[in-house]
Symmetry: C2
């Protein structure tokens, strides 16, 4: 994971199809295509960052939850008091897909401005068919607006909704029998995810949902071992999920199983930071064990209203003891793998999408180093230049 190929004074040839045709010296590329239009840039060019775990389609910010936690009220207590995820659920249920789209736009723009060109977005604040579909429809429409490129994930099993509290298994049946077929039919999701966690969905319930999703042709992801251990990492690997996410409470055997699998461990250090945790997922141990690790923002209104993958790279180095090079791989190559795009995104290489970000730096290691400011000066998505610094700053709230 620390094997980074750094090209000095390199050039990239981009085809009309938005893909990278060649990478090399200017001279080589010039001879390949003498009439190519030339843009000279100054800085470090990275593959566009892939944010492989977000809940970017939501309603209002949850400003009160931030203060509540500062006052010592726990995540579970906030949820029990009607805050937490369910506050966002009530909010989203009261909005239509156009409203959700309008709220999402400036947030997606802020992600791009910080260098993210691909964003996985989960539903999961609907928890009933219509509202889940509205979220996924908002994601589909946002994809049409342009930037960034979105990967939709159905997360109907994010939480048991209030009206089904007495019968969680009944709600799982609704997800499996009613929601998943509709999601498949509408073609609005590429992955299915479940919040597998003691007190939310059990291993057995998670397995039911994921196996059904697999039958419907969806790829699998899993919120696994986030707060307390339940063996989610093992389930994800067993079912061939593309990723197991969070993993702050993963076990040694979970790490071992992941290391022998093709499942990516998606770690979310910003969430731990924002929730006030003093620990992080055992990233160093995982990488040393041979697990492929990606870092993502977990962008969501409750536990991580964070928008910067470079900041996640800083946390990777400073809080998780990953090497700087490992954090770059974690937000590019491995982020792409965690959304099933290892073959097409996350690398500056022939045949890959021309998703590129330019950082105002002389050394790639500056990206995780100058933390809390934005070094990104230019972004290309499928070869088309966006100019995020020229966009108006839109209110995110």
């Amino acid at each position: 994971m620390a094997d980074l190929d750094v090209v000095q004074r390199g050039s990239v040839l981009i085809g009309d199809n938005g893909l990278i045709e060649a990478v090399g010296s200017f001279k080589e590329l010039r001879s390949l295509k003498p009439d190519a239009e030339i843009q000279e840039v100054d800085g470090v060019l990275f593959p566009g960052f892939v944010d492989c775990h977000t809940h970017a389609v939501f309603g209002a910010a949850r400003l009160a939850d931030h203060e509540r936690r500062a006052r010592g009220i726990s995540y579970k207590e906030i949820a029990a008091a009607g805050g937490g995820i369910l506050a966002s659920v009530n909010d989203v249920r009261g909005r239509d897909e156009s409203q959700l789209l309008e709220l999402m736009k400036p947030r997606l723009a802020a992600l791009v401005a910080n260098g993210t060109t691909t964003v996985e977005v989960k539903s999961g604040y609907g928890l009933e068919l219509a509202a889940e579909l509205a979220q996924l429809e908002a994601v589909r429409r946002a994809s049409l607006v342009g930037l960034p490129s979105l990967v939709p994930t159905f997360l109907g099993a994010h939480e048991v909704p209030p009206e089904a509290r007495a019968d969680p298994d009944g709600y799982v049946s609704t997800v499996v029998d009613e929601m998943l077929p509709a999601v498949q039919q509408q073609g609005v999701a590429r992955f299915c995810d479940v919040f597998c966690e003691p007190g939310v969905f059990t291993i057995e319930q998670s397995r039911r949902v994921l196996e059904a999703a697999q039958r419907h042709g969806l790829g699998l992801k899993l919120h696994a071992d986030e707060i307390d251990y339940s063996g989610g990492a093992q389930l994800a690997a067993e079912l061939g999920a593309v990723s197991a996410d969070h993993l702050a409470a993963v076990s040694e055997s979970g790490i071992e199983v992941l290391s022998g699998s093709s499942t990516i461990a998606v770690l979310l250090p910003g969430t731990m930071l924002f929730l006030g945790s003093s620990s992080q997922a055992p990233a160093r141990r995982m990488v040393d064990a041979g697990v492929a690790v990606a870092l993502a923002t977990d962008f969501n209104p409750g536990s991580s209203p964070g928008l910067s993958l470079p900041l996640m790279a800083t946390l990777g180095v400073s809080q998780m003891r990953l090497l700087p090079a490992e954090t770059i791989i974690a937000i590019t190559v491995n982020g792409a793998a965690a959304v099933g795009e290892a073959h097409a995104r996350g690398q500056i290489a022939p045949g890959f999408r021309a998703d590129l970000v330019l950082a105002s730096a002389r050394d790639w290691r500056e990206l995780p180093y100058w933390y809390g400011t934005n070094l990104i000066s230019e972004v290309w998505i499928e070869g088309a230049a966006c100019h995020p610094r020229q966009w108006p700053v839109n209110c995110l709230g």
Copy 2:
């Protein structure tokens, strides 16, 4: 500290002298000055942020130290191996004040872009008279260039330089007898600071430097109880220092003494984050005990290449359990107090400097909430609008 006065649909009248004349409704202010030029803004207007603890005048970034720490090498081991502060000392000694100025400019611009309008800047990478003066002269020249407003601090006692290792007391004598008089004569510093820490300067050595500085008319600051306890907080309070800084290892008696003093506790959560610490200074206990707390970036190339006070506010809430309102006071009112400017900066009030920042938000609580992105859309310094979003992104390294 949580007593924030929020004005809805407020207006600010700025005089030609760069000071705020009045704050109130548009109608009131209009009648005060019917011919005033009007600028309408959309968002939340904050007092310009005051970064009251930085080491912003330095040479190269210390990228290797970041990776070294990820590899498990401790702060003291890095220093012993010739990295750490001494790497920056060797670097700064090889540069003249013009080079230091040019390196500082984009870094100061990045601070302004993140909403900081006043920056305290320490010397301390010279550790010999000429190099210390070159740093302070670079700060003086940067003040003439314009933004932000700089407050210079002499930190000749930042570390014992290599050539004086055998005789630390002799180096303290050099600071007291040679450097301080020259600094006073040149009029290039407003405060004097000492790194009081076991293994660096003792309480007795720190007292010698600070008492001499006081005789030379400088205000006092102190790096106190950062890594290990030595009673620095008590010394700072006893000598009437304007601030005691870091305080991660402060004692209960230190907190008690600070609470009965006018010394501001300047806490630097970004440093703890960047160094990979799992703990933070006991901010909550201090505020509860009646200590006035400020938050700063500690911007420096080794332990905190961080540029965003809003991110420090996030860490204040999420990692230190300060209330959102307390973190706003900590980067404005109390930051100003920690540079002796409580009467003139850090508030939007008549007679105060018209240093203002506009955040693209509807609710002031969004500032510490949307972490890792920059909400600041406009900055005024002494009433003059800067447009940081239109500046070119300059390389910081």
